[in-house]
Amino acid sequence: MTREEVFAGVNEVFRDIFDDEEITVGETTTADDIEDWDSLEHINLIVAIEKKFGMKFTMGEATGMKNVGAMVDIILERV
């Protein structure tokens, strides 16, 4: 799976979780860029991404990722 393909899948999950078809995430996207990305939705994001890609994050990864690019790095290591 290419980085672009992972980004496309991650973007799909973000749009679904936040009910917003206009979201486009990039390497440097953080919670500061998406108003509803709070701690509860972060849990939903992590769970949905794990299901989408059939992989698991560690607790340190789930709570320590600095941006979406870091999230994609971890996904690429596992798929």
């Binding site: 509860l40 849990i43 992590i46 769970v47 994050f57 607790m59 789930a62």
Partner: protein, 140 residues
């Protein structure tokens, strides 16, 4: 009150309790929320809309989900994160509801459970169904 830890909870585990809706519950709910809608406060209005009596507030019915999680499943360690409910049938004053929750999923990473929830009236009809995500707090 139950005191299930996250480790003690298993998929398929079920807890249930019963509650009878009394008129004073509607009055207390009206005072707390300020919801004066006549469907809940005026017998004649409710009858005119085709109901046998005042309709119980849906959100009053749903509030027993707080009891389900906070007292029964998981009980003391409960922290409700999300609730998604559908009001399948109107509830009437005097109805005795059976409130039931079943553990459908566990998430080890964040220590929460997903409950499938339902409430049935005395005739066995489903009046509410839904899903709750409930955190299970650790520590003593």
């Amino acid at each position: 009150m139950n005191r299930y830890t996250y480790a003690e909870l298993t998929v398929g585990m079920t807890e249930a309790f019963q509650v009878t809706i009394r008129p004073e519950m509607l009055e207390q709910f009206r005072q707390i929320t300020g919801d004066e809608n006549p469907l809940h406060t005026d017998e004649a209005f409710a009858a005119g809309k085709g109901y046998p009596g005042r309709v119980v507030y849906g959100m009053l019915t749903a509030s027993f989900l707080s009891t389900l999680a906070g007292v029964y499943l998981p009980g003391e360690r409960s922290l409700i994160l999300e609730t998604d409910v559908k009001f399948a049938k109107a509830v009437q004053i005097g109805d005795t509801l059976t409130v039931r929750g079943t553990v459908k999923e566990k998430n080890d990473l964040f220590s929460f459970i997903v409950l499938q929830v339902e409430m049935r009236n005395g005739d066995g009809e489903k009046v509410l169904r839904g899903r709750m995500k409930v955190g299970v707090l650790d520590g003593e």
